[in-house]
């Protein structure tokens, strides 16, 4: 077969994760934009705020950084971030599955490369380098 089995597996996982992420992003955005739940920053105020540099925006809105938005999940804009987070987690999930497949196959070199990639993605996802916790 031209396409390795672990690549097919990776494709299946990526397909599911990205579809779920996009669907959640679109659905939650509708909830946000049609004001079905209250927003942390009223949408009417946004045009005066999104022109500001990031630091000033955060200062004026009290918007959280890092994973702090999880405490505001009842707010419209942070519901939408669930979809964004799923999209960002998709590759990490696929790599975890990939390492398992590569170890089972006995491909130690690529299992090590994939494991290193997981470490990089975890460091990024945990927010240690981004200055937000």
């Amino acid at each position: 077969m031209a396409v390795p089995e672990e690549q097919q597996l990776y494709a299946r996982w990526l397909d599911v994760a990205s579809r779920v992420g996009l669907a959640v992003l679109a659905a939650m955005f509708l909830v946000y934009v049609f004001k079905l739940v209250p927003a942390h920053v009223p949408v009417e105020d946004l045009p005066a705020l999104w022109t500001l540099p990031l630091e000033q925006y955060l200062e004026q809105t009290g918007a959280p950084t890092g994973w702090g938005w999880l405490t505001l999940l009842g707010r419209g804009e942070y519901l939408s971030l669930i979809g964004v987070t799923i999209l960002c987690l998709a590759t990490l999930l696929c790599y975890v599955r990939l390492v398992i497949a590569l170890v089972a196959k006995g491909d130690r070199l690529y299992a090590a490369i994939a494991a290193a990639q997981i470490v990089v993605l975890c460091v990024a996802a945990l927010g240690f380098l981004a200055g937000g916790h």
Partner: protein, 307 residues
């Protein structure tokens, strides 16, 4: 639909969205902004497919240059846009063998580390500097697209030791030419190139297909179709790493990201349907011209000449 009608429709959508952007913030209702962004993103999605240019590379300079959103938020949205598009396309490319996970994995590891560094640099530098550097980078990309060559099936002699150790070779089935056997070389140089690509992708929020494909195709010697497919897979990893930095910094605004992602993806679907009838050669030239305008605008805005 004729080629001219296609071009007019794309232009109409883009300028109707951009016209909304021309009005200062408080003068229009808030909902005009996501609508305008959706229209522009939709037009860019069509243009990106027909012109063979990534949506992110058009989105960041155009929206950063002509919309009132701060560049920090535009870069965040641009990165998510490139990531979403790549995530949607990658599974099909992987299943068909037109993307190689084996080829992508080592390059993605290097690119993802440096994309995090690039994102951090982008937040540390003054916005005027980032805007100016973005403008000049976009102009360089436009020149690369205008002048750059490509090779459907490059000849690869013997593999270097690293390429051989990583077993960077394989097969894929091409409907046009049957089963294609490939192998690559110059992997150390490609790893260095991807280190630079990662920095640019993270710093400016650009998808990096414009750089991935030439490195894979012309430097490493991968067949063009495999290079294009693997480039999409690389974007899913490299852009994810940088996207986390933007998300944690608070630079991902759903009001910008969602209309952008939805607009570009719908536009890309329409673009794919128009591929058979649209004059892609002219559309690509128009897209490059748009890149030049966006690059000049971005550079002049950053330099304080055209604010």
């Amino acid at each position: 639909m004729s080629g001219a009608a296609t071009a007019l429709a794309i232009g109409g959508l883009f300028f109707s969205g951009a016209a909304l952007a021309a009005e200062p913030g408080a003068a229009v209702a808030w909902w005009w902004w996501p609508v305008g962004l959706f229209l522009v993103s939709f037009a860019l999605g069509v243009l990106a497919v027909l012109g063979g240019i990534g949506g992110g590379v058009l989105f960041v300079p155009l929206v950063g240059g002509f919309f009132p959103f701060h560049l920090d938020f535009v870069r965040g949205a641009g990165l998510l846009l490139a990531l979403s598009g790549a995530l949607s396309a990658a599974p099909r490319l992987l299943r068909s063998g037109l993307a190689s996970l084996r080829l992508a994995a080592p390059l993605a590891l290097v690119g993802s580390i440096t994309s995090i560094v690039g994102a951090l640099i982008g937040f540390a530098l003054p916005v005027e500097f980032v805007q100016t550097a973005l403008g000049f980078t976009i102009l360089a990309i436009a020149a690369l697209m205008w002048l750059g060559g490509k090779d459907d099936r490059p000849r690869v002699g013997s593999q270097d030791p690293l390429s051989a150790a990583l077993k960077l070779h394989g097969l894929y089935d091409d409907p046009a030419s049957g089963r294609v056997e490939w192998r690559v070389h110059r992997t150390p140089a490609a790893l260095a190139a991807f280190a630079g690509i990662g920095v640019l992708a993270g710093m400016f929020g650009l998808g990096a297909g414009w750089a991935n494909v030439p490195v894979l195709n012309l430097l490493m010697g991968a067949p063009l179709k495999l290079s294009v497919g693997t480039s999409g897979l690389l974007l899913t990893v490299i852009d994810t790493s940088a996207a986390w930095v933007y998300l944690h910094r608070g630079a991902v605004l759903p009001m910008l990201v969602a209309p952008t992602v939805i607009g570009v993806m719908l536009g890309a679907k329409i673009g794919a349907r128009l591929l058979r009838v649209a004059p892609t050669h002219y559309v690509r030239r128009a897209a490059i011209a748009l890149l030049v305008i966006a690059g000049v605008r971005s550079a002049l805005k950053g330099l304080g000449i055209w604010t």
